[in-house]
Amino acid sequence: MDTATLTEEVAAKTIPIYIMGKRYEVPETLTIMKAMEHSGYQYIRGCGCRGGICGACATVFRRAGDYKIYTGLACQTVVEPEMYLTQIPFYPANRASYDFETAEPTAETIYKLYPELFRCVACNSCTKVCPMDVEVLDYVSALKRGDLTAAAEISFDCIQCGLCASRCMGEMAQYHMAQVARRLQGGKIAPKAEHLEKICGDIDSGTFNDVLEAAKAMTEDELKKVYTEREMEPHMGADEWTPASNHGLA
């Protein structure tokens, strides 16, 4: 939509924001990301999913007259008048490589990869800066006491944006450590889901081969028709609903 054609009543009011110290007037309804594009910035890096999950557009800002540091994802945070902002899409961080197959599912794996874990002084700057409200200090503490499961659970919402590492007094990359914990938890500590193992076996043994072959033989139009006409769960249906066909799923 071309904003220039909108009448004054429906056009959003503009507000001043400061991007890397320079003042811009932007519509007050925009996200930081849209406001930057509105101001003439073109994204090559620092922008990914635009849906608040990829962690590419971490942004730091301050409000007028306030000493506090605020953070948000540029694609999710709406601009405020007089905000001073810059994006920190990447922050250099120590990332250890390891062989997951042979890694022991114990905290010692992390101690060996990231000895700097023990440089944490519990300043809590990591938690205060996290745009996803992850209790970073709590998972760092869990790692130090050897509780991988707690670390994996507490860090679950982490999107690896790296802002914690940018503020860390101990110069650690907390989010890389937590990722090791989540991988060990998911791959080697948490009990395997029985149904997952079964369905993988079914796939391996060819249960769905006929369906897949039939789909592969279809033209694009036929495929679209099958897709759009598929049986779907009703939006306002009863609590108990089962599809008419399970398509070979037991």
């Binding site: 010692e108 101690y111 060996k112 700097e116 023990f118 440089r119 130090k144 006491r145």
Partner: protein
């Protein structure tokens, strides 16, 4: 703090005042009895004794104390504090010397160079202590 004897070079005076500020201790209270060195469990590893360390500091000479690694080897066991007849908190003095080194972004141990077997075997408090005392 007590007045500083005059033969001290002005540059050294600044340094010794910094030690006093960081440690809260007045090294000029020391009467050089050597009791701290006699009871120090790590004195054999230091370049010279804790008594000599204090003596250098009385003249504002910090560099030799850094080179002798007194602050690096002091594990803050506080045995000397109990025994010092002049009531000087000796570990505070040498911690101040060490802090002056660490505050120039100098690490006295590199965490990534600790053997992996040690990282897996030793208790967590060992690493927290080591890094607090010896990394910047």
């Amino acid at each position: 703090m007590a007045s500083i004897p005059s033969p001290i070079h002005p540059e050294n005076l600044k340094a010794v005042n910094k030690i006093a500020e960081l440690s809260g201790q007045n090294v000029h209270e020391c009467m050089q009895c050597g009791t701290c060195s006699a009871v120090c469990p790590m004195v054999e590893s230091m370049g010279f004794t804790t008594r000599m360390g204090i003596h250098y500091l009385q003249f504002g000479e910090i560099e030799p104390v850094i080179k002798a690694q007194i602050g690096e080897y002091c594990a803050s066991c506080h045995t000397c504090v109990v025994r010092c007849p002049r009531g000087i908190d000796v570990p505070k003095v040498f911690e101040a010397v060490r802090q002056l080194v660490l505050r120039t972004n100098t690490d006295l141990i590199k965490p990534q160079e600790i053997p992996k077997d040690t990282m897996a075997e030793a208790p967590q408090i060992a690493f927290v202590s080591t890094f607090r005392k010896l990394t910047s």
